[in-house]
Amino acid sequence: MKIPDMNLKTFRRMVKAEGESESVSSGRSAKKRLDAAPRKASKGAAVTTAAPHRAKVS
């Protein structure tokens, strides 16, 4: 895979669009997501799981 390097002008133009939205997510329907089985990890695991970016919240 060799995609041409992005130039800065392209970047600056495109990122303006991100200011127009809450997110950038796209994907197929919720139907597919609901069909998926729940994760193995329980909700309670979050308390003891290391937060990868915890340092950011100070």
Binding site: M1, I3, F11, R13, M14, A17, S26, G27, K56, V57
Partner: protein
């Protein structure tokens, strides 16, 4: 290296930093999904405990379960990596499909973006003002347009946008073709003219 750029918001004023586009295999995708899920859990706790807010629309996404097309040889997972971490993911279907809009492409084909998401710590819906990087969606759509050109679809793309992201795709020049009755989401297409404009205008500004 396939170079792209991101906005680094960790220090003010924010600055532009270089990142790279990489292709992930199944192992890389599973590792990323596990790492992201730990981050989601952390931010869910913060949101629920501090603000009583709902997590973003893609909160229940499980990337390791998504790419059935990856096993079938039709899917390609692209990641934006910066400072060693995957900052965003996109699953692109390599098999071109017919455009729904008659004006989208002279060849009548487009590539379909199956899923696209920024890492949890880069989503306002989780991290609010603490987001680390911006420009992830732009970098991934840039890659999708380039790949669409490479397979002969002239940059044309199709995708279903989550409601919070519809403004982003409209601004980029995607045409809103309305709610897809099957998926229950708005379906968008980027036509070849809009794709060319997206890249060409910027090239002109460089000269």
């Amino acid at each position: 290296m396939n170079r792209v750029y991101l906005k680094d918001f960790r220090k003010l004023p924010w600055r532009i930093v270089e990142a790279e586009l990489v292709e992930l295999d199944r192992v890389g995708l599973d590792k990323t999904d596990a790492y992201w899920e730990r981050s989601r859990e952390y931010w869910r706790e913060i949101l629920a405990g501090t603000y009583g807010q709902e997590p973003p629309e893609s909160d229940d996404w499980e990337w390791s379960r998504k790419p059935s097309t990856l096993e079938e040889g039709e899917g390609q997972v692209l990641a934006v990596r910066c400072e060693g971490d995957v900052q965003g993911l996109m699953l692109l279907n390599r098999r071109s499909q017919s455009c729904r809009s008659t004006s989208a492409s002279s060849t009548g084909c487009c590539l379909y973006v199956e899923y696209l998401e920024a890492a949890p710590w880069n989503q306002k819906g989780y991290a609010g003002v603490h987001v680390r990087y911006g420009g992830i969606g732009s970098a991934l759509i840039y890659a999708a347009v380039q790949l669409s050109k490479m397979v002969g679809c002239w940059g044309a793309l199709g995708l279903h946008a989550l409601p919070g992201a519809e403004g982003f795709y409209r601004y980029l020049g995607f045409e809103d073709l309305g709610v897809d009755a099957v998926e229950g989401m708005h379906y968008f297409e980027l036509g070849e003219k809009a794709a060319i404009m997206l890249l060409a205008e910027a090239d002109d500004e460089d000269s």
